[in-house]
């Protein structure tokens, strides 16, 4: 793993992985790398929380270990388990090896992360796991060391870089937050979003990408149930290109709206607002609406 020496180097390394960060996120990620605190990122769906970990792993040339949380996840899914089938077979074959040894150990993501020095550990959507698991994780995150009763204590040579994401469906425990660096990822402003789309979809014409982003920016000002994130912007721009559009027009927008807005109410809402209207407004206000957003 190669750790970037300065914040700018980090930003460039992430940009090389086509992940563009603003100053805030760059600083926080840099700190997470340097002082080895877990990084807790929250934000609306689709702002690139998970992507951050992936890009970070690629940028630092470290392996990525991912733990997807879900309700009911426990130590056996997250840390380790024993290969019972093989244990039983071994017993039947009257083997002589101890049953609870490395040979029958199944490494789950957390254990994997400990034995991979300097890797990036992504703990995705922690809010979906339940409180008990969070408590367990707390212990793991504080000293990067776990005890497997049958084998002993396993520690990390070098602690992994931990990125935790949460969608805030549940309030994470304060004790966990306290151990982490915290960052809330906002929707990017217009300029950065355009840059992201261009970096991710280099084959799409510049003009089309800029117009698409400007319209999405307009939509974020509407009172929608589910604001389109960067992920949706990318999907939609790709759809526009696939439909052979040279620019964002009312008709092609209408046809491809489904890749941008994912609920009937939201689509209705946008139609009521008037798609032509919105497109015109986005062209008029395009360049400076980013500033307006920050003022809000």
């Amino acid at each position: 793993m190669t750790a970037p020496g300065t914040i700018d180097e980090l930003r460039d390394a992430l940009a090389a992985e086509r992940y563009l960060v603003d100053e805030g996120l760059a600083t926080v990620v840099y700190l997470a790398l340097r002082i080895r605190r877990p990084l807790l990122v929250e934000g609306e769906p689709g702002v690139g929380k998970t992507e951050l970990a992936k890009a970070l792993a690629a940028a630092t040339e470290a392996p990525l270990v991912r733990l997807q949380c879900y309700e009911g996840i426990d130590v056996h899914h997250a840390l380790y388990d024993w290969d019972y089938q093989r244990q039983l077979l071994h017993l039947r074959a009257e083997g002589s090896e101890p049953l609870y040894s490395e040979r029958f150990l199944l490494r789950r993501p957390l254990l994997e992360a400990l034995s991979n020095p300097g890797c990036v550990l992504l703990i995705d959507e922690l809010d979906r796991a339940d409180d008990e698991f969070e408590a367990f994780l707390l212990e793991f995150l504080s000293d990067f060391q776990v005890t497997i009763p049958e084998i002993g204590t396993v520690g990390a040579e070098r602690p992994p870089v931990v990125v935790i994401t949460s969608n805030r469906t549940r309030e994470l425990h304060d004790a966990l937050r306290r151990r982490c660096l915290y960052h809330w990822i906002e929707h990017p402003d217009l300029g950065r979003e355009t840059a992201i789309v261009r970096a991710r979809l280099p084959e799409v014409p510049r003009e089309l990408a800029a117009q698409a982003c400007a319209l999405v920016e307009q939509l974020r000002w509407l009172d929608l149930y589910r604001l389109p994130g960067v992920g949706e912007t990318l999907d939609w721009t790709e759809s526009l290109a696939a439909l052979g559009a040279a620019e964002v027009g009312p008709e092609v927008t209408e046809r491809s709206l489904g890749s941008l807005l994912k609920s009937h109410e939201d689509i209705e809402r946008v139609r009521r607002e008037g798609i032509t209207e919105l497109i015109e407004r986005s062209r008029r206000e395009g360049p400076d609406s980013g500033g307006r957003r920050e003022a809000a």
Partner: protein
């Protein structure tokens, strides 16, 4: 971090620490629950960034101190003052002083839902501090944060009794009422709706094969799995979302409703409490204060539009967008307590109620007024929302707060048939 960088910084460490501590204290005074732990993290972090760069300093401090986006504005207020009051070329002195005194000067306590609870605390802090130097020395000993905050609380009780009491008088809960709240909490704990968890528990009954335990057992019988071990799914409390109307027309019930909300929130059954009049206020955190009386007063103070007008549709919309979208109401039992007298747009209410219903496991509407809503010209909202309510319970006096426990229990498990229906006699009998 190695070599020249840290050596160069070592001289500066002392004043950086002072600054960090001052910032931490200022944030605490503003209502953020910062800890020494976080201050240590920031001290470490600052050695990694260019501390004369405002943005880098700001983002490092944000990352270390913030625990949620809601703390952003308060942080920015404090940080602005903090940064302005310091000259980085002439360290020491001004920054510390600034952080110590400024946040307690008049002014910053405006708006914000969490502010009322901190006002007394910062005031007591003011009484405590003999001078800024003493306060700065106090920090290292505050290493154990728990006793520190406990001490502050104690001081609050001792030093500003008038303030707390005048506020208590506002809603004036009697001792027996508070007793009733506690009793309701117990009832709810026993009779809350449940759902199946994905977590497996060991079980005697034949369910899923628990290989782990089976292998262990088989060791006793020479590796022959004679006695399989089983596991089964465990149950968890199903989330209860309570949306209570505290507008003018519900005024005589509001006090008791608030108490019921507190009982539910503190019962440890994953209850979420919201009240609405013209807007929506989330009270779950506020009501969770360990002290019952204080929790109720704080909650009352946090609601800006208490006994105001009613815009149920807008309030539901607020809920759906900020909380429903994150999945708070997904699979939850949602109980709305309101008379449905609405001054907002009935169409909006119908739309939002439908959305709420689609996300919730069950949408229950408790209405203190009698069933004949067609005879109530003001119950426009009720008529609009009714088609989207799974269980409509009119004529239920929320002052009989134990009814809430019965309600939660009675409707727990089953998935409702989604169509309009009037109060069934069974449900009425149960309450």
């Amino acid at each position: 971090m190695t070599g020249a960088g840290s050596a160069q910084l070592r001289d500066a460490t002392a004043w950086v620490t002072d600054a960090v501590v001052a910032l931490g204290r200022a944030l605490r005074a503003e209502g953020l629950a910062t800890t020494v732990d976080q201050e240590l993290a920031l001290s470490k972090a600052l050695a990694m960034v260019n501390i004369s760069d405002r943005e880098q300093f700001r983002w490092a401090a944000r990352a270390c101190f913030l625990r949620g986006p809601h703390e952003g504005p308060a942080f920015e207020r404090v940080f602005d003052r903090f940064w302005k009051g310091s000259k980085l070329d002439g360290p020491r002195g001004p920054m510390v002083e600034h952080g110590e005194t400024d946040p307690r000067m008049p002014g910053p306590q405006h708006g914000g839902e969490s502010l009322p609870q901190f006002r007394p605390e910062s005031r007591s802090g003011h009484l405590l501090d003999g001078g800024s130097s003493r306060a700065a020395q106090e920090i290292p000993t505050a290493g154990a944060q728990e006793p520190g905050s406990g001490k502050r609380r104690g001081v609050l009780a001792a030093y500003s009794p008038e303030q707390t009491q005048t506020e208590v008088r506002r809603l004036s809960y009697q001792r027996d009422e508070l007793e009733a709240v506690r009793a309701l909490g117990d009832q709810l704990r026993r009779a809350h709706p449940e759902r199946l968890s994905r977590r497996a528990r060991p079980s005697r009954r034949r369910g899923r094969l628990d290989l782990r335990r089976t292998v262990r057992r088989s060791l006793r019988t020479d590796g022959e799995a004679l006695r399989p071990a089983w596991s089964s799914q465990s149950v968890r409390p199903r989330r209860l979302v309570l949306l209570c109307d505290v507008s003018g027309s519900m005024e005589r019930f509001s006090r008791v409703l608030l108490a019921s909300l507190r009982a539910a929130v503190a019962a440890g059954i994953e209850a979420e409490a919201f009240v609405f009049a013209t807007g929506l206020t989330r009270l779950t955190r506020t009501l969770n204060d360990r002290d019952l009386g204080r929790a109720l007063e704080q909650a009352r103070a946090a609601v800006g539009d208490w006994s105001g007008g009613t815009r149920i549709g807008a309030a539901f919309g607020d809920f759906n967008r900020t909380w429903g979208r994150r999945g708070l109401s997904r699979g939850a039992i949602v109980i709305v307590v309101s008379d449905g007298w609405d001054r907002g747009d009935p169409e909006l209410l119908a739309r939002e109620a439908r959305r709420l219903q689609l996300q919730a496991r069950r949408l229950i509407w408790v209405n203190p007024r009698p069933a004949d809503i067609d005879l109530q010209p003001l119950a426009v909202g009720m008529r609009a929302a009714l088609p989207y309510v799974d269980d409509f319970i009119p004529g239920h006096d929320p002052r009989a707060i134990h009814g809430l426990a019965a309600l939660a229990h009675g409707f727990g498990a089953a998935r409702p048939a989604r169509k309009q229906r009037q109060l069934s006699s069974v449900a009425a009998a149960r309450i």
